[in-house]
């Protein structure tokens, strides 16, 4: 009995603090309009995310890579192990285009010299 009283006296300040915390930190809810608007924007984005990537505007660029966004999104939807060939193909295509341009410029210079 005495031991319980001692325990009760020791715990009393913590019980009081616990009550203060309970009165201070009470459940809150976001504004209903905010909740509904956020729900709507999330669903819009989810549908866009899950829809055909070609529907995305061509002019929209990914801010990090500067690549048109529909290309980035299409690559993101390709399974991970297949993405390397996609990027490889893109690199080869770019190299071929560059080689073609260099060849054209060189040929033009050659014609002028002649």
């Amino acid at each position: 009995m005495k031991e319980n009283r001692e325990d009760g006296l020791t715990l009393a300040p913590y019980l009081a603090l616990s009550r203060d915390l309970s009165a201070l930190i009470t459940p809150v809810s976001p504004d209903d309009q905010f909740r509904a608007q956020l729900y709507g924007s999330l669903l819009d984005r989810a549908r866009c995310q899950q829809s055909q990537p070609m529907l995305l505007p061509l002019t929209e660029e990914d801010p990090e890579t500067r690549i048109p966004r529909r290309v980035v999104r299409w690559v993101a939807n390709v399974p991970g192990q297949d993405r390397r060939w996609v990027w490889g193909a893109a690199a080869v295509g770019s190299a071929v285009s560059l080689a073609g341009l260099v060849t054209y410029v060189w040929h033009r210079r050659g014609n002028r010299a002649a």
Partner: protein, 203 residues
């Protein structure tokens, strides 16, 4: 801007809720959410209040809390395809995202040395009755300051316990701890708060 005190009944009329997901198990819902927008919407509805609670009490401002709550869910949506269900509640992942956003928020504010008005709104909330004395107001301000000086983990514990009204077991599952560990952490938090308040001559 003040948060709503309604239970969300008005929300049903504003949101065309897909009730077929309302009773679905979370693990099933998560897999569906990777390809079904409304499934993600259901995950949102189940978790928006708790995330808002956490963010609101971590930063103390309703408008900013709305912004960070929105960013939390948009970030979750952007990464949902990579989420792997490991038997931990989905909310645990959302709390991690929210925690990082809150941490960045505080870092940005301290970098710009912005005047902290964080607790003004929180104290104003608690002291709604005009009969509350100035001493009570000051006591609550001191308690909020003491809470803010606690590590993030302890602040999260207090928010989950009092704002979300979760049991120690539920808190443990969200924080990756056992129930007894949560009880121990809670008692250590109380001791730390009391010592902090006594050091500043508040009891």
């Amino acid at each position: 801007m003040f948060h709503s005190m309604t239970s969300g009944e008005g929300l049903e009329t504003q949101i065309s809720h897909n009730h077929r997901y309302a009773d679905m198990a979370e693990s099933q819902l998560i897999e569906l959410a990777k390809r079904d927008a409304e499934a993600f919407g259901e995950l949102y509805l189940r978790n928006v209040d708790r995330i808002y609670n956490y963010v609101y009490y971590r930063i103390g401002n309703a408008a900013e809390a709305e912004d960070l709550t929105a960013r939390t869910f948009h970030q979750a949506l952007g990464n949902i395809e990579r989420y792997v269900d490991q038997g931990v509640p989905f909310a645990a992942w959302l709390y991690r995202i929210a925690h990082n956003l809150v941490a960045n928020y505080h870092r940005t504010r301290s970098r710009w040395q912005l005047t902290s008005l964080e607790d003004v709104e929180l104290i104003g909330r608690a002291a709604e009755s005009p009969e509350r004395s100035a001493e009570t107001h000051e006591k609550q301000r001191a308690l909020w300051s003491a809470i803010r000086r606690q590590p993030e983990e302890r602040q999260r514990l207090l928010i989950l316990k009092f704002a979300d009204r979760l049991s120690n077991d539920e808190i443990g599952r969200l924080m990756g701890r056992t129930e007894s560990s949560i009880k121990s952490l809670y008692f250590r938090t109380l001791k730390s708060l009391r010592a902090d308040l006594e050091a500043r001559e508040w009891q």
